[in-house]
Amino acid sequence: MIEAELSRCVASFHPGATGVAGAAKLSGGASQETWSFDIVHPGGTIGAILRRAPQGYGASPSRAAGLGAEARLMQLAHDAGLPSPRVMHVLRPEDGLGTGFIMARIEGETIARKILRDESFAKARPLLARQLGKVAAGIHGLPRAQLPKLREMSATKEIGELEREVQSFNWPRPVFELALRWLRDNDPGPSAEVTLVHGDFRHGNLIIGPDGVRAVLDWELAHLGDPMEDLGWICVNSWRFGEIDKPVGGFGSREDLFAGYEESGRKADPARVTFWEVMGTLRWGVMCCGMMQRFRLGPDHSMERAMIGRRASETEIDLLRLLSPRGD
């Protein structure tokens, strides 16, 4: 059924396309869906991805940049030579597909455990931290004037948001309170430079091939803020998937990440990165608690959500390892 609308839509922006095939939903919540499909064309089949909010789901959560902004950011990143899929089409009302966009499909792997363990990525793993440093620098260097309208965040605002969320759970969490206190006491203040921040720069949102990084996806949490936030987030232990001695995504070192970042003339600030790593660890813990809340209150009464709630304690041990490390 979605193939009929997609076929009509594809013909309007890709001359000569005769239809679409193999439409399959990759993921989807109540408000946003991702579909994979092939554009059929006499010159050869083209892999494509539809990212959309179905009709009737216009409103996005307050932190989300919105699909229009996502499309614009991906196109800007692509045009700047960053690993980002080409945006082929931004949906119009007459397409009958809701709001969103269609982009080129990039082959590769996003599942962390495969990237960290499979032999086919053995050559890529030692390169990734440096490559991602360079990619982050490219994102942070995108010209402000060309960016879509985005919310502006700071460390202080982020601490305030986390504090409100922790309070809203109405469940005592002394380790989260300790982390909030540490964040308030160590708030480095406004960043000297405010740039585009990807906001979710980590496994799952990176397409990796045997040659390394192929694409950065999911700009839903993009905002303006301290560029060191992206470098701190990718160091959060939750994204190391067991490889805890390799702080960057379980595959690399901070030194390599910073070296890649500085290759393009930008400067990494290791102290700020550590601050954002603590913030990110707490944020993932808060997100785990949020999953538990949605399990209990919301329509999605799934075991997976319930069990993610029980992963908040993983962030508590990681916060203690950061803030109160025990001697050897």
């Binding site: 005592p172 969490r173 002394p174 380790v175 989260f176 309170e177 300790l178 909030l180 206190r181 232990n237 190391r240 067991g242 490889e243 805890i244 075991m303 997976e304 319930a306 069990m307 029980r310 992963r311 304690s313 993983e314 508590e316 041990i317 990681d318 203690l320 390892r321 803030l323 109160s324 025990r326 050897d328």
Partner: protein, 124 residues
């Protein structure tokens, strides 16, 4: 008094049945969902086994630390409030040890295979 077998024995038997006899029959998304279900049952078994001892020790430490009595939930609420206000911090004698022990006890139930936890267990 309820009869035997105990809840621990029952949840463990169900999890073992699902793991050994049912899981091999599935692949893909259903295998994934089944793995989550087995993990949940294993967690419940661990909690039924470990919770009473852990809670009692935690309440003892909290009473010592705060100098007041109360339910475990209320004691934790009081501690959380004092940390938020800065009335106790990592320099307060016993606080770091208490938070570490409490967190280790949670991980022993929630995720005993979590790498950070295994590293800290080896440290002892």
């Amino acid at each position: 008094m309820q009869d035997e077998p105990t809840p621990i024995e029952l949840t463990k038997a169900v999890a073992d049945f699902l793991r050994n006899d049912i899981a091999p029959m599935f692949s893909g998304h259903h295998a994934f969902k089944l793995r989550v279900a087995i993990n949940a049952l294993d967690l419940v078994t661990r909690q039924l086994t470990l919770q009473a001892g852990g809670d009692e020790a935690e309440a003892g430490r909290l009473k010592q630390l705060l100098g007041v009595d109360g339910s475990l939930h209320d004691l934790n609420r009081t501690l959380a409030g004092k940390i938020a206000k800065g009335e106790v911090d990592l320099r307060t004698p016993g606080l770091a040890e208490h938070l570490w022990q409490t967190t280790m006890d949670k991980l022993a139930v929630d995720q005993p295979n979590y790498a950070s936890y295994k590293r800290e267990v080896e440290r002892k």
